[in-house]
């Protein structure tokens, strides 16, 4: 029965969102469709919660549902505040991807997560990181474009403003991600921060963007060094995301679960 309701909810959300993507010009209708899709997932989560008589946060499938719920909310908020259409569609696409994975792997609803991951902090931690990476990756694309223009000596200042704003938004989410992680670690293991390799590299990434923000704030008219800092920060971010497992320090990481969400 739960399964049928899931299919219904996922079907409604997917179809409203796909419809929304086809009418980007009719803004009001599109926004209503986006919100209706979010509401569909929300109602299903509520239904699941009542039915299971516990917060649905115990299994991989359930946590994916929460991603699928929160991502479009952040995407919509971002769109509402900053008119970044791409962020809205990106978050909708990811959300549909999570629903689709749940559809392909129903067993995820019965596979329980390891106890440490069964925490109300888990979902916000992952969701804000996904958003942070999206913004920061976008800012790096802008930086590369800027460096290219710089190389051709035709750099437009508008590029810098765009990069700045993306970094500010991304950095806000990155900070929240680190903080949620620290609070979660405190609740689960009793320590805010253990300097695990993954944490260490996440912190280095954070420092990289911190330098960029302050450098830009102090020297708004100098572009080249800032652009290089931004490009470097993205390399660190990639190390943090993909490369950590290959570093000598990584054999001792607690973050290398076999089933990364």
């Amino acid at each position: 029965m739960i399964w049928n309701h899931f299919l219904l909810a996922a079907g409604i959300s997917t179809s409203t969102w796909l419809l929304a993507a086809f009418i980007p010009k009719r803004e009001l209708i599109r926004n209503i469709l986006v919100l209706a899709g979010i509401a569909g997932i929300a109602i299903f989560i509520g239904f699941l919660w009542i039915n299971l008589e516990r917060p649905p946060l115990r299994t991989l499938g359930e946590t994916r549902l929460w991603y699928a719920f929160f991502l479009p909310i952040i995407g919509f908020l971002t769109y509402w505040r900053w008119r970044y259409n791409w962020m809205l569609y990106y978050s909708l696409a990811l959300s549909m991807l999570f629903l689709f994975i749940n559809y392909l792997h129903p067993e995820n609803f019965s596979k329980t997560l390891m106890p440490a991951l069964q925490s109300p902090w888990f979902v916000p931690h992952v969701v804000v990181y996904i958003c942070a990476y999206a913004f920061l990756a976008a800012s790096s694309l802008v930086a590369i474009r800027g460096l290219y223009q710089e190389y051709k000596t035709e750099l437009q200042p508008k590029i810098m403003l765009m990069a700045d704003n993306l970094v500010y938004l991304g950095f806000a989410f990155l900070t929240l991600g680190l903080l949620f992680g620290a609070l979660w670690a405190k609740e689960a293991w009793g320590h805010y921060w253990t300097w695990d390799p993954k944490e260490t590299w996440a912190f280095i990434t954070w420092l990289g963007y911190l330098v960029y923000i302050h450098r830009r704030f102090q020297m708004p008219s100098k572009f080249k060094s800032s652009l290089w800092i931004l490009a470097l920060a993205f390399v660190i971010l990639l190390i943090c995301w993909f490369g950590v497992n290959y570093l000598p320090s990584a054999q001792f990481s607690v973050h290398t679960y076999s089933q990364q969400p």
Binding site: W3, E53, R54, R81, W82, H105, P106, E107, F109, S110, E150, T153, L155, P157, K158, M160, L161, D164, N165, Y168, L169, F171, A172, F173, T175, L176, L179, A182, L183, K186, G190, H191, Y192, W193, W195, P197, T200, W201, F203, I204, L207, G208, L210, V211, H214, R215, R216, F217, Q218, P220, S221, K222, F223, K224, V244, L247, P248, S249, Q251, F252
Partner: protein, 418 residues
Amino acid sequence: MNKNTKPLWQSPWGYSESFLFAFGLLLVGFVLEFTVGSASFGSIVFPQNLILGTVYILLIALVYVLIRKKPIFKFLSGIPASIGAIAGLSVLVVIMGITPQIPMDNKRIVTSLGFNRLTTSIPFLFINFYLLFILGMVVVRKLFPLKWKNWGFVCSHLGLWITVFAAGLGSGDLQRLRMDLIENRIEGRAYDDKGNYFELPLAIKLNDFKIEEFHPKLAVVDNTTGMLYEATKPSMIMIENKLVCQLHDWEIKVDEFFLTSGRAGDKYYSMVDLGAAPAAKVRLITPAKDTITGWISCGSFNRPHESLKIDERFSLLMTVPEPKKFSSEVSIYTPDGQKQEQTLEVNKSFTVNGWKIYQLSYDEKMGIYSTKSIVEVVKDPWQIFVYIGVFMMMIGSVYMFWRGNKVKNEETIKGVSN
């Protein structure tokens, strides 16, 4: 604009001086680490950490009063000094991100410089104090005079300062222990993960340990491997009395279901007894329309488990029920002669005398018959300050998301690439 041509150490100081400061400090730190070593450093505990913290804050205040009119204050509270300090810290953290942080016995350059335990090395200590000092100067400059429009800045920067300060100083005072509570016994001691026992300033008596379980589920397993059949599909169904359901290719009817029962002869009877286990009488109809009937039970610590053989390959069985909710009804005694009645539950902790008591676990082999409850007691007197700092930073981040880019647009637009 021609900053690069300014001689070193001539006012106003900029990036060169700032980096010299930060990296000079690291150098001194590493030299000290190499020669003196930091092995004698223990973590500082109350009241030394409180004294040290107070002195440090007074020092920042004093320095501010002494130098606030001088150019050096502008340097110490400015972005070049900040970036220098952040870069210094980054170098250490990158080293930490590359070398494994584990004890190594052979004496090599890595160990004598403390690369494998950086967080307890002298350079790390130095750079943190330096960074906190600079950040302190930055915050103080924005706090006096206090301007309403700076609230976002104050939230993120002061929040970071408070977090690092409180978490660093408080780490020595954290205690995290476990207590095994047995029904109707008073326990006043707790043990750490090495098995050392400590007397607590409180005692707990477990009056009742309560546990509720979900109904067990039906599942089909492979007789030879014991693995769940078609584990990739929703493959377990919770048992209810009179349930009729389709599990894979088989239709299953539950004729009778007892939450607690015992076997007598060829039948189970509902009964309440220590170890009485759930049991169900099921009828299974195969695709070939054969009917197989029998009793299944998941057993308990003193009852055997029983499954129903479907054919050579498969059996139908009842899974061990999962806990739905468990809680301990306790009386908590404190030295002042007070007694409090409380219910401890997962995610519902209770704080007494500075100790936070969490429901952690129970005797899992005994399931609903467990008379033992395991709780965790945690004392972290500095946690509240860390949380204040963290929440300030969170507010600062939300503000940052909302406010967006703060870089001065006009200067950017006017700026020339160089």
